[in-house]
């Protein structure tokens, strides 16, 4: 969602890829949010699978219209135009996204900040009235670091609704959600590789019911640390895996592992290793891989304490 911004390249391919050609898997692709979304799925009926994938892509397109800061009449553009004291109504999806964004801001001590330091706290969110109010004029929201994951989470829910439980959804490979694997498999095979040298595979994973997010910088790219306004240094890439909790029995609460992974991977480009370790330790189900920008480029794997 943020491909044209010179200051934040969180969407670049952090080196996350499907490990090998998969036999018997159907693949559907769709351009949205300035990248390519793909669905890998298993279903005997090609047309049925295509219709399900299309329904998921339609959903992604709708979210892009609501969440893009480039769309003149999106919710986010309206928020970014608010004068001090003014308010606007947003769709339920935008509201959810903002609420999760605020939560991630708190969880990461401000390292993940959809307002990039312009004052997320000056946005008041009223979930009952679907209202967002700005207490200052200067706040600018960019959901580029979270919207892709949110779309992946919702697309995955839709696929499950269609009975396509054995699926994997990704947005530009930087936000991946693996549901159940193909029959007989233990997980979906994924690789993490060095963004400066994609042939250098850093890790091979087999994942199920797990979201993976990737952030990376190529040459000349940089990510601005919202806490200081300076470019973040010292990292080439970060990956975050977030276990997908089972859906709540009442269907009421939404799980958003890809959204969370999307946010954390951005934050982990900036947080110190100690901070990341501490966050993983108190947040079961989260693990991280950090690729420092040094001569050795040795990946550091950080696993939360409750993750066996």
């Amino acid at each position: 969602m943020d491909p044209r911004s010179p200051s934040r390249h969180t969407d670049v391919d952090g080196g996350l890829a499907i490990a090998r050609d998969l036999v018997g898997i159907r693949r559907f692709s769709h351009e949205a949010m300035a990248t390519v979304y793909e669905i890998y799925t298993v279903h005997p009926d090609e047309q049925y699978a295509a219709q399900a994938a299309q329904a998921a892509f339609d959903l992604v397109d709708r979210l892009e219209r609501e969440l893009s800061r480039f769309q003149p009449n999106s919710d986010i553009t309206r928020i970014n135009q608010l004068a001090a004291g003014a308010h606007t109504r947003v769709t339920p999806s935008t509201l959810e996204c903002l609420v999760i964004a605020r939560h991630m801001f708190e969880l990461t001590g401000g390292a993940f900040d959809v307002s990039i330091g312009t004052g997320l706290a000056s946005l008041e969110i009223d979930p009952d009235e679907l209202v967002v109010r700005a207490s200052t004029t200067r706040v600018r929201v960019d959901l580029g670091g979270i919207g892709k994951g949110y779309a992946v989470d919702l697309a995955a829910e839709l696929l499950e609704d269609w009975g396509l439980e054995r699926s994997l959804v990704h947005g530009g490979f930087s936000s991946v959600l693996a549901l159940d694997p193909p029959a007989g498999g233990e997980g979906w095979p994924l690789t993490l590789s060095d963004p400066r040298d994609p042939s250098r595979v850093l890790a091979r994973l087999s994942v199920r019911q797990t979201a993976l997010g990737a952030s990376g910088v190529r040459k000349k790219d940089h990510i601005v640390d919202p806490r200081s306004g300076d470019p973040a240094r010292g990292r080439l890439a970060s990956w975050v895996a977030v276990a997908r909790p089972p859906a709540a029995p009442d269907g009421g609460a939404r799980t958003a592992p890809a959204t969370v992974a999307d946010a954390l991977t951005t934050a982990f480009m900036m947080l110190s290793v100690e901070e990341i370790r501490e966050l993983c330790a108190r947040t079961p189900g989260v693990e991280a891989w950090i690729l420092p920008d040094d001569n050795e480029r040795a990946v550091l794997h950080i696993v939360g304490s409750d993750t066996a």
């Binding site: 009449n73 977030v242 276990a243």
Partner: protein, 472 residues
């Protein structure tokens, strides 16, 4: 695995399985579980509410309008999203025959935002029971519009009905008559009629400033890429008896009714109607003739009875003279999306509802009077700088690559979702504070112009309109 792990791992791929972490989840809900975030937000909000003044609602004297949504499919959900943003509405009911899916989804969304709606499968039951309704918003398939709109009007409700008004002229005509007979409001969903960008073009640029001069030709299109037919999750299929009861052969026809004769009108009606409506509005006339070529060039004719490709030329006798207007829609390649292009002897206006793709560009003919006055008044932006003066004295021109004509942009932006201003206009009219921007008689004229295209394709010959064809 390359690099250093903090924990030892086996040689094979690491397995990440949610069972590994279930234990932790119940105690530390920090995984972005939406419910948790929601709860946190609510606490935050409660604290805010206690310390702050009244909620950011509209004026206290705003008359509350009680609304039902009839038709909760894709378009109904678009309207729902817009309506949830309009203050002063109280949603009372949702009616849709797809109880298992769309009805449930739309009802849940309304309830999540404190609208205690009742759900119905049959609109007649809804009208019987929901006595407090002021207005019904209809987004059902075209072939239901006439019956739904007329029943609601006769039950004393104001009606907002999606376009196309009806799939038949008789249906559209009966809607106009019912509106007249009941005196209730009937707005048709040609939402560009309330879009401030289109209103600015019509009122200021074309009517007042006459920037285009005499519009002699118009062209426009809505192109879409191939996409699969709409499907439905197997587990939520509608029982056949209910499908039959409501006029659908099967689930495929229910989902893809737009392609079927007797149900919808194909892309020329679904898409073309929006833009052909603008042609007639901006030209200030109804067409006199139409010729069209079309066919089903690509899709399976068993499931796509209407034409996937249509090219049409209208003749107009406008107050300023004769005009030819071309329109095409095709469903095999989405190149250049959708736009309308009005070409006059003094200027050109290229625009689209999609401002992101077509911001609204005006070109002044080099021989036309200067637009300085309109730039100063803010009707158009200042032209893109074109350096044409020679740098050295004595020369009349600096010879170089060709310079483009003056290019201006529309200074008006729509910040709300596309359908919101049109819905707002309807609810303002319900409160007696506005005139409808697209009342039934107006939409009827567009229905006449558009439904004739399918006839012209079949006839393979030019067809003519009489002025009285457009009147009820």
């Amino acid at each position: 695995m390359a690099g250093q792990d903090e924990k030892k791992s086996s040689d094979g791929p690491r397995k990440l399985d949610r069972r590994d972490v279930l234990k932790g989840l119940s105690t530390v809900p920090a995984l972005g579980l939406f419910g948790y975030a929601w709860q946190t937000q609510r606490k935050y909000q409660q604290a805010k509410a206690e310390e702050a003044a009244a909620p950011p609602e509209a004026p206290k004297d705003l008359q509350v309008v009680n609304v039902a949504l009839l038709g909760a499919g894709a378009q109904g959900q678009v309207l729902q999203d817009s309506m949830l943003r309009i203050p002063g509405l109280r949603f009372r009911a949702v009616c849709d025959i797809w109880e298992e899916y769309n009805q449930k989804r739309v009802v849940n969304t309304f309830r999540k935002f404190k609208h205690e709606v009742n759900a119905y499968e049959d609109y007649r039951e809804m009208l019987d029971k929901e006595k407090e309704l002021d207005a019904v918003v209809i987004a059902t398939p075209d072939f239901w519009h006439a019956e739904h709109a007329i029943s609601c009007l006769k039950a004393g409700k104001h009606v907002y009905c999606e376009k196309e008004m009806s799939n038949t002229l008789e249906g559209a005509r009966s809607m106009v008559l019912a509106q007249r007979e009941t005196g209730k409001l009937l707005q048709i969903g040609h939402q560009r009629r309330s879009n401030p960008r289109y209103l600015h073009c019509y009122n200021k640029l074309i009517t007042e400033a006459k920037l285009l001069g005499r519009i002699v030709t118009v062209n426009g299109q809505w192109n879409r890429a191939v996409s699969p037919d709409l499907g439905a999750p197997d587990r939520y299929a509608i029982p056949q008896a209910r499908l039959t009861q409501f006029g659908f052969k099967d689930m495929h026809q229910f989902r893809n009714w737009r392609w079927y004769k007797g149900k919808g009108g194909g892309p020329i009606v679904d898409l073309g109607s929006h833009q052909i409506d603008i042609y007639s509005w901006f030209l200030g006339a109804n067409p006199s003739h139409v010729m069209a070529s079309g066919g089903n060039l690509y899709h399976d004719p068993a499931t796509h009875e209407w034409y996937d490709t249509v090219m049409v030329v209208y003749d107009y006798d406008t107050p300023l003279g004769a005009t030819k207007a071309y329109y095409q829609t095709q469903t095999t390649n989405g190149s250049q999306g959708y736009f309308e292009n009005f070409m006059g002897d003094q200027g050109t206006l290229l625009m689209s509802e999609s401002e992101m793709n077509y911001p609204g560009t005006l070109y002044r003919d080099p021989n036309a009077p200067a637009w300085d006055e309109w730039v100063q008044k803010g009707y158009v932006t200042a032209p893109k700088e074109q350096e044409t003066k020679p740098k050295s004295e004595g020369a009349i021109a600096d010879v170089r690559e060709s310079v483009s004509p003056d290019q201006h942009t529309l200074p008006v932006t729509l910040r709300d979702p596309y359908h919101q201003p049109h819905l707002q206009n309807f609810f303002d009219a319900v409160r007696g504070k506005a005139k409808l921007n697209c009342p039934a008689e107006e939409a009827y004229m567009t229905a006449v112009a558009v439904l004739k295209v399918n006839e012209a394709v079949e006839a393979r010959a030019p067809l003519s309109f009489k002025p009285e064809d457009f009147k009820v």
